[in-house]
């Protein structure tokens, strides 16, 4: 399953992410972002990873919702709902993306581990399948995540995400605040640095459920 995360969702590592007043909890979607280096159009799975410049950790937030039969824009695309960072690691430094395990800590306690080896489609296959109908351009970002059993967190809590045994990616930290308690997260500024500083990132996509 694919969906888009819009630029208004970007939050830098270390920033506070605002939950709407009526939302007591948010789902934490620890994901690995693949940053596209060279354009991919109709590529096969065997060559697909050559189009990846490197990787960044992301926290793909979503308000809990039950209806599968509606596009979840108002649950997934709130301002600030994509933590990104703290740093970019090259493809060479990370190696095979699907062997990573992402750990989610809430207030310092390990609450969830996302094992990217459990994905139904590998990163390479995902790039191949997506590039069949939409060109992935330089600066586009494809998020690898798993939908099942996402832990939930509340305002006031701190979320840390890291890839086990992969210090090159650092630790992505964000705190949650309730609406009214923080300044607005400006959209594009937040994610610029960790994604490499290019002026024209074009999109974001995906998550697997």
């Amino acid at each position: 399953m694919l969906y888009l995360k819009t630029a208004n969702t970007w939050s830098a590592c270390g920033s506070a992410i605002t939950l709407p007043a009526q939302a007591p909890e948010v789902e934490i979607g620890a994901s690995l972002a693949l940053l596209i280096g060279t354009p991919a159009q109709g590529v096969g799975a065997t060559e697909a990873l050559r189009h990846v410049a490197g990787y960044v950790l992301v926290n793909d937030l979503s308000l809990p919702h039950t209806s599968y039969y509606r596009p979840p824009v108002k649950y997934r695309n709130l301002d600030g709902f994509l933590g990104i960072g703290p740093r970019f690691a090259t493809a060479a430094a990370v190696g095979a993306p699907n062997r990573l395990q992402l750990e989610v800590r809430i207030d310092g306690r390990l609450r969830h581990t996302v094992d990217l080896a459990q994905m139904r489609r590998s990163a390479a296959q995902l790039i191949a399948d997506v590039s069949e109908f939409m060109t992935l351009r330089h600066g586009d970002v494809l998020l690898l995540g798993l939908g099942a059993q996402r832990p939930r967190a509340r305002a006031g809590q701190r979320i840390d995400i890291e890839a086990r045994g992969m210090p090159a990616l650092g630790t992505l930290s964000n705190t949650l605040v309730q609406e009214g308690a923080s300044s607005d997260a400006g959209p594009p500024q937040g994610a610029k640095a960790p994604l490499g500083g290019s002026a024209a990132h074009v999109v974001a996509s995906v998550g697997a459920l």
Partner: protein, 250 residues
């Protein structure tokens, strides 16, 4: 004024409509058929948000045998799917049903966050025409169109003009029509939208900030038909423009 963005003489230019010609920003005047038309939008330093409405005309919902939605049914598109006027859109091999969707596209002009309906028009830069093609074969769920249906390369022609909001006194009072090879196949009116432009701006800006250059594609009325390679599709909105597109094979 009507703004365009075109490639001409080895460069990309902003242009204005002027007496049936294009007036380039550098002062040159050129004919419409001397340029390559691009979507009439200035580039942004971050990804453009493109919101698109499904089933936003009562007659179209009826045509598809659905009851009208209780709240806007919205999905997102990537900028990579946009295409200029007078270009070609690919019909994938082996599909049975690909149809156009003539839509009024709203271009946001000011950062919009928690905007009230009464103020919504202050946040609009202008309007253009979108043709939001869909490949029915790939549609698994009407309420949840997937990216393969709605986010394909070449799948969303846009243009030819961005018409200033000041020149469109009432966007809810515009006739829409589509022709295929000159035959009228779709005819509707923006007054029949279920959720109108001010409602949509209030609704979206309540949970997501809209930025200058972001787009809202407001949905299509009834009358969609299958399009084949070689077909010339003209989606036209009164006072906004006539967007020409031709279907091609991969």
């Amino acid at each position: 004024m009507k703004h365009a963005r075109v490639a001409y003489d080895g460069a990309i230019h902003d242009a204005l409509e002027s007496d049936g010609q294009l007036l380039l920003a550098d002062g040159r005047r050129v004919d419409f058929d001397a340029v390559t038309w691009l979507p009439p939008l200035a580039p942004l330093p971050w990804p453009r948000t493109i919101l698109a409405l499904g089933l936003n005309y009562a007659d179209h919902a009826r045509e598809l045998a659905f009851k009208a939605p209780q709240e806007p049914l919205v999905f997102l598109k990537g900028e990579g799917s946009l295409l200029g006027h007078r270009a070609h859109t690919v019909r994938p091999a082996g599909v049975d049903y690909m149809h156009y969707e003539c839509e009024l596209a709203v271009v946001i002009g000011r950062t919009a966050k928690r905007v009230l309906r009464a103020d919504a028009y202050d946040f609009v830069a202008g309007y253009t025409v979108a043709n939001d093609y869909a490949i029915r074969d790939y549609l698994e769920n009407w309420y949840r169109p997937n990216l393969r249906v709605k986010n394909r390369d070449t799948g969303t022609p846009l243009g030819p003009w961005l018409v200033d909001a000041a020149d469109v006194p009432n966007p809810m009072k515009l006739a829409l029509r589509t022709t295929v090879n000159g035959q009228l196949t779709q005819s509707g009116h923006t007054r029949d939208m279920i959720f109108d432009v001010p409602y949509l701006i209030e609704y979206f800006s309540a949970f997501m900030t809209l930025h200058p250059g972001d787009l809202i594609l407001t949905g299509t009325p009834d009358g969609v038909v299958d399009c084949r390679p070689g077909d010339v599709i003209v989606t036209e909105i009164e006072n906004i423009g006539a967007l020409v597109n031709t279907i091609r094979s991969p």
